[in-house]
């Protein structure tokens, strides 16, 4: 009996919603938006992937095509790491557009990741992104609010609510029934949009997805489904406490604007205010100062390198570095690379910690704003969040360091130690060694790592679900009919 009432109410909502011709218009607009987002997204994805693969291969060919030469020249020749887009970025571009795409990896120097799409965008950049995720995160909730504003308030206005409740239907049945009805309405958009996303994702993968990738997609579907449910419950609750449909509509639109448009920017402003970042100049100067303190290989009187030299001379029982049985210059360079990389990493991690504080601040805001919880989780699962990006940067730096040290090792081992005269040709080693350096490969973090980084968002999600559960229960006892 109880269950039947809920089903009836739910079915009623579904029917009334779709009787309205204007609703079909809205559905059509959403479908058009989804079609456009999918098409343009796919074209852009293909363009970027083609470019990225093309130049990654060209850079590799250039590297392998080098003739016999001094390994230190190859350390300076370096390599490129071009960031590849994750297949799920077709669904949620996340911060992709703001991330650099090309990183030049060379000896002695940690370069910035350049050429972000945002840096080459016009002022239109500020209007945001049109993606399937955006439709589900931003527009679908608004539609639900449009449709749900009258779910209870209309019944109250025309008196059916009184009839309904006097016939033995309980408040909780009304609230749950209306919410499920609205949810069913929402599913008619959620389902096709997610199917479209799934199709794009599989097409981008070009093969069977791994377990990790499948899990990502399933979790995305789950969180978006939960969020849709959350919006339905909010719409029905607001409608139930409002005297008229109009006040419910105004309140819901107001909330929607606050949560999706104003609060995210406000939390960003607050986060950067509380946790200020150093300027690039200050960052570079600090790195340089620390390197000089540790030992500056360019300074002829540097105590660190003087001590290094003395210890080598003593260990090998020789009078000058020219008598050492290996290439001394290579040895000094390896030491310099070690010091500068360690110092850079120390500062880079300090900077990452700062970014982390800012991001964690924004994540915590999800307890005030469930939209942020979904947004952060969605990006993280799609592999378009800060975690994926910082992994790319760190893996590229590890690659750079290994490359530089491999070249230093070749120099120490194969380059004669004697200084050459000013007109003598540079020493060279065989080009076969260039093949020993593997190409750069980015490895995405696993779902487990994603969750470790995003636990606050998951907690906030859970918090909102619980909160709504109790609100519905509380409301069922306290709501008035009039």
């Amino acid at each position: 009996m109880r269950f039947n009432n809920q089903r009836l109410i739910a079915r009623h909502i579904r029917h009334t919603v779709f009787r309205d011709r204007a609703v079909w218009g809205l559905w059509l607009l959403m479908a058009l938006g989804a079609g456009y987002a999918a098409t343009v997204g796919w074209v852009a994805f293909q363009q970027q992937r083609t470019t990225q693969v093309h130049y990654q291969q060209e850079a590799r060919r250039d590297w392998l095509g080098n003739p016999d030469k001094h390994p230190h020249r190859m350390a300076h020749y370096g390599h490129f790491a071009f960031r590849s887009r994750s297949p799920l970025s077709l669904f949620d571009g996340g911060m992709d557009r703001f991330l650099g795409n090309a990183l030049y990896l060379e000896a002695h120097k940690q370069n910035t990741v350049n050429f972000s799409e945002a840096g080459f965008s016009t002022g239109l950049l500020r209007f945001g992104d049109l993606s399937l995720a955006m439709l589900l995160q931003v527009l679908l909730p608004l539609l639900i609010f449009f449709l749900g504003a009258g779910s209870v308030a209309t019944d109250r206005e025309n008196g059916t609510l009184k009839l309904l409740l006097s016939q033995g239907v309980s408040w909780s049945e009304v609230l749950v029934g209306k919410s499920t009805g609205l949810f069913a309405v929402g599913l008619t958009l959620y389902g096709p949009l997610l199917a479209l996303a799934g199709g794009l994702w599989l097409a981008a993968l070009g093969g069977a997805p791994t377990a990790d990738e499948t899990l990502r997609f399933v979790l995305l579907a789950l969180f978006y489904g939960l969020y849709l449910g959350l919006c339905c419950v909010v719409a029905v609750l607001v409608s139930a406490v409002s005297r008229t449909t109009k006040t419910a509509l105004v309140a819901l639109i107001g909330w929607w604007l606050m949560l999706t448009m104003v609060l995210p920017r406000a939390s960003q402003a607050l986060g950067t205010y509380v946790y200020a970042l150093p300027s690039k100049t200050a960052f570079q100067s600090a790195v340089q100062a620390d390197i000089s303190r540790e030992g500056n290989s360019h300074n002829p009187d540097d105590p660190h390198y003087a001590a290094l030299k003395d210890s080598l001379l003593r260990a090998y029982h020789v009078a000058s570095t020219e008598q050492l049985p290996f290439n001394y210059g290579g040895y000094v360079m390896a030491e310099g690379e070690k010091i500068s990389a360690a110092v850079y990493n120390k500062h880079y991690h300090l900077l990452l910690a700062r970014f982390g504080q800012q991001n964690q601040f924004a994540r915590t805001m999800a307890f005030l704003n469930p939209y942020l919880a979904l947004k952060n989780l969605s990006m993280a699962l799609a592999g378009t969040d800060f975690l994926a990006y910082s992994r790319f940067q760190q893996q590229a730096e590890t690659y750079r360091y290994a490359l530089a040290q491999q070249m230093n090792a070749l120099q120490i081992q194969y380059i004669p130690n004697q200084k050459r005269g000013p007109t003598e040709k540079d020493h060279a080693i065989d080009r076969k060694y260039w093949q020993d350096v593997p190409d750069f490969q980015y490895r995405a973090p696993s779902v487990a790592e994603v969750f470790r980084a995003e636990w606050v968002s998951v907690a906030a999600f859970g918090f909102w679900l619980l909160l709504l559960f109790f609100l519905v229960r509380g409301a069922a006892h306290r709501l008035s009919v009039l």
């Binding site: 300076h76 490129f80 911060m95 840096g119 500056n296 300074n299």
Partner: protein
């Protein structure tokens, strides 16, 4: 009558809440702008101090060779940040306002990114332009969506219609009161901007204000037209919110996506890969042909002979120069594409008031893509000036100590590209007039349909 209307309008709690909210958001945006300007100025001061300290220290360590000194020496160019940028930050948070370059290959340094947190860039700023472009229309919608329709729904419209001798005038007054309140708020915030950001009251400022006013008028035009459709208030509300969504969320994002795919930039990666090859492969080639190409580029340096050593600075900088020369085509194409993107977005701006406002406010604040491209162009010229100044000194082996390094100040680029007033004011003015005219015609038709 007007004062009565004004009093009854301003007395409603909804109106007070709306005004209070927008005033708060506006003040926050001014503080955000202040913070942004302070940060820019701090970065400027830091780079001035760092340049002097770095040059002095480098000159000490590399006192023997001018060529080695200039291998390391960084010189900074700053993109001037106008106080107006505090109102419209544009892409100044994405793109670095400071370039630090050595005289080595330019293409490898020109596009170096700033240190910033992409999460912050993604969420965007609450600057004044956001408040104006996104939030002001909402206030206007909230104030006007039920202007005549509610009176009809409550049945008071019949009374008004019967008693008023000039019904159109009455409707105009209803809108005029709301317009006056909204413009009052706008003027207040701009006045606040003058105080908080220290905006000079110059021509760009007045043009900025006029563009903002016309944007507001455009939205009043939309609301006036919707009110004239003779629909119930709730339909008006949904129609207006949908228009807002279309103009601010969906269509500009769709246009941007279109522009990015219409003008893709493989040239960016092409430039950087080519540049590396162009420079590095010269190490494996004889010196003479490379230096010959260098002489062809700079005939004025022909009289510096190529030394007979396996390494020399003339050859080294000639190799560096080749990296730039051989990637010049891709680099030029990249620049061309950026201008195309900018021009295309302006075309769309003619039809979309939101896009028009954002692009034009960025123009005045010198914070858009146009400014960025001009800054990159100036970076190229700046780099060239440095090369032309230092190349002879390197080739002559001018003593490092003899150079006065303290006179190499940080330079500033002031973007003074011309501004055509008509481009700013005409499109929104026509838009507002068109909608107001259409609304007027509609109202006249339905005036006594009670």
């Amino acid at each position: 009558m007007l004062t009565l209307l004004f009093r009854s309008f301003i007395r409603s709690t909804g109106v007070k809440i709306g005004l209070g909210f927008l005033l708060t958001a506006g003040l926050v945006s001014l503080l955000v702008g202040r913070q942004f300007l302070d940060r820019q100025h701090r970065h400027h001061r830091e780079v001035v101090a760092a340049q002097q300290a770095d040059l002095r220290q480098l000159a000490e360590f590399n006192s023997k060779e001018m060529g080695l000194m200039l291998y390391y020496a960084p010189f900074a160019l700053v993109n001037e940040t106008l106080p107006l940028a505090g109102l419209s930050i544009g892409q100044r948070d994405v793109n670095p306002s400071i370039q630090r370059l050595t005289i080595r290959g330019l293409e490898g340094q020109k596009y170096d990114a700033d240190l910033n947190n992409p999460s912050n860039l993604l969420l965007g700023n609450i600057d004044f332009s956001f408040v104006l472009i996104y939030l002001f229309p909402l206030l206007i919608i909230a104030f006007t969506y039920s202007v005549v329709s509610e009176e009809r729904e409550n049945g008071t419209w019949r009374v008004v219609a019967v008693q008023s001798r000039n019904l159109m005038g009455f409707i105009a007054q209803l809108f005029a009161v709301r317009l006056a309140v909204v413009l009052g708020l706008l003027v207040l915030l701009l006045g606040g901007g003058v105080a908080v950001l220290g905006l000079p009251l110059d021509a760009p400022f007045w043009l900025f204000a006029a563009t903002a006013v016309l944007y507001v008028l455009g939205w009043f035009g939309i609301c006036f037209w919707v009110a004239s459709l003779h629909r119930p208030s709730s339909t008006n509300a949904v129609l207006l919110i949908t228009t807002w969504l279309g103009l601010l969320v969906v269509v500009p994002a769709a246009v941007n996506q279109y522009l990015l795919t219409r003008y893709p930039l493989p040239e960016a990666l092409a430039t950087t890969v080519k540049q590396r090859r162009g420079y590095h492969e010269k190490w494996d080639m004889p010196q003479a042909p490379t230096v010959a190409k260098f002489y062809a580029h700079y005939p004025q340096f022909k009289h510096y002979p190529l030394p007979n050593t396996s390494f020399n600075w003339l050859w080294y900088y000639a190799m560096q120069q080749m990296g730039d020369d051989e990637s010049a085509r891709e680099s030029g194409e990249l620049r061309q594409k950026l201008y195309q993107r900018e021009a295309a977005s302006r075309q769309f701006g003619l039809w979309l008031p939101s896009v028009h406002a954002q692009l034009r406010l960025n123009d005045l604040a010198r914070s858009g893509l146009g400014n960025q491209v001009r800054f990159l162009d100036e970076t190229t010229r700046f780099h060239e000036r440095l090369r032309l100044y230092f190349y002879p000194k390197i080739f002559e082996e001018y003593p490092v100590k003899a150079e006065n390094w303290d006179q190499h100040f940080v330079e500033t680029f002031a973007d003074r590209s011309p501004i055509r007033v008509a481009d700013f004011l005409l499109p929104p003015l026509l838009f507002a007039l068109l909608l107001a005219g259409l609304g007027w015609l509609n109202f006249r038709r339905h005036l006594y349909h009670l």
